[in-house]
Symmetry: C2
Subunit: 338 residues, 2 copies
């Protein structure tokens, strides 16, 4: 029999309906079709992008003179230039499009996806995300930074060369403020972090855990909205992804690579979205979410992976129906070699 | 320059970035591939579905003995049989999968989509939605009913024969409770309905209105999350779609048919999601949302159309970036014949 499930972080009911299970469709991520020679992200074509805002260099004797480049989007959705102005349009709210929109080129290799990269290279990517987050938060007009990756055309990728995106905004655009408010209410009531509690429960139960090591836990959330939804959560409490320590970065990179390879092995390289949920800028001039010690103790950064094994309708229909119980998804992923 | 926009109903910032506009992709809704002879929804194959819960008959001398059939889903996500039981799983919430999951077969014609049907037939479809909503609310275990349609494989349609879905749930699954809470806060503060205010402002401004008649207004919302997002709002205040009067049903059907034909003419039959946002069951045994006169005055039912002109990433990335300002979308749709 099906059931409706809800977790205290997202606080949204999901119908888990295993009777509706069917073989996953749309499994294989389609690569955007662009010839390697014309790719603006390939080594030798650096002039095809705006000047880099960050370049990470490989160790001595690397094959290229960069291993990760971060460049502004050619046609950014938001820009740092201009004044941040808030205005009303009758009952509506409007803010000028101040912010940043950047592309993280994840390796010099045109063909490699994040799942193909060696551990050290994935670490460089995670370091680049962190570095950009920290730098963007120096602009106190910016309250929020999204780190996001879309793998496969079906998930919105537009260029074949592996890349992720950074979107810095002067307000909190999505559901983050509501999630933070729920974590805060949990903390106020209990003096404990919601995600620390969640980790304790998941590790004790075990059925939804895919992998865990001393630093990070990978699990399928109780109220998974889509089949094979995944959370990667650091064990050590911390509100800010930008402040994760080097050993955590290394563990995150390893867990991420492993998890993406399991998805590929088990489900045939599915399209996916990846997003990091981190606390807003503690130094923001006009915070939506009140910063301070309470927020630091209540919020716990984490990373979400949302495979796209078919058309996703729940965001539009206002109800997610997931045919794959997360316990089954986790068991399947555990059964695969990493 | 781009801007961030927010409306008081959804209360979520959307980046409107016209510089990122590009020709719409994935325009044409793909039809699920199933031969007409094997279609379980075609006349003569009534035995291929579970017994109908509602059959609407055409006027005298219609070509078939039904014009709209509503049948239970063959493998429903939720069922009326069983006990409604709520339980905890540690910090999580769980409710047994009590509810209903039905399919509205929109016409006997295998080939016709909602945009093809004559006005009278679209009225029958809207009447069927209403009738099922009213009937399902007689089960006081059920709090919420979703009326939803996915057009095109890209939007999640699985059968070619035109159909919509009804999902009745014992809890409010999506964002409806939050939207209702915001409308209620607006009402408490002002003694006015949020959507009545929104209609007044939109009709006064005019730039986002596509069509209007004495009963309904079709507009592109100020903080449209996706290009060509549309709202169909009845002018007469009412919390319950199930209580819309026959003249409103007729006007809604006409506006819906017209709008879908404009979308098809202008954008080449795009895939879309359609969803009706109506108030929860006022007689529910265990309401999430407190019923009563305040709710009746604060909530205003409406219909949403979400074209899917490319992969939608905002629900996953936690930020919607929309390259088509709703003013441009509305002007384009107005310029087309209906």
């Amino acid at each position: 029999m099906s059931e409706l499930r809800r977790d205290p972080l997202r606080h949204q009911w999901v119908v888990v309906a295993p009777e509706r299970a069917r073989p996953p469709e749309g499994g294989r991520a389609e690569r955007p079709s662009e010839p390697a020679g014309a790719c603006p992200f390939c080594p030798g074509r650096e002039a095809a992008t705006p000047p880099a805002v960050l370049v990470l260099h490989p160790g001595p004797r690397g094959p290229h003179d960069w291993c990760v480049r971060v460049v502004p989007e050619r046609v950014p959705a938001l820009r740092v230039e201009g004044n941040l102005e808030a205005s009303a349009e009758g009952m509506y709210d409007r803010v000028t499009g101040i912010g940043a929109h950047e592309v993280v080129i994840e390796s010099p290799d045109h063909e490699a996806s994040l799942a193909d990269l060696p551990q050290a290279q994935v670490e460089r990517v995670v370091e680049a995300w962190q570095s950009r987050l920290r730098d963007l938060f120096r602009d106190r007009r910016l309250e929020h930074v999204l780190v996001v990756k879309h793998h496969g055309v079906q998930a919105g990728a537009r260029l074949a060369h592996g890349h992720s995106q950074i979107l810095a905004t002067p307000v909190i655009p999505g559901r983050a403020a509501a999630r933070i408010a729920r974590a805060r209410a949990w903390f106020r009531d209990r003096r404990r972090c919601l995600l620390c509690d969640l980790l304790d429960q998941e590790l004790a139960t075990g059925s939804r855990v895919v992998t865990s090591d001393p630093h990070v836990v990978v699990l399928c959330p109780y109220a998974s909205r889509v089949p094979f939804e995944l959370l990667v959560i650091p064990r050590r409490h911390g509100a800010h992804f930008g402040q994760a320590a080097p050993d955590e970065v290394a563990a995150l990179a390893r867990a991420l690579g492993e998890t993406l390879r399991r998805l590929r092995r088990g489900l045939g390289d599915p399209p996916y979205h990846l997003v990091i949920h981190t606390a807003p800028n503690p130094e923001a001039y006009h915070p939506t979410v009140e910063p301070g010690p309470e927020l630091e103790r209540a919020w716990h950064w984490h990373l979400e992976i949302l495979p796209r094994l078919g058309p996703v309708t729940g965001w539009a229909s206002d109800a997610f129906v997931n045919p794959t119980p997360p316990e089954d998804a986790a068991a399947f992923l555990r059964s695969l070699p990493d």
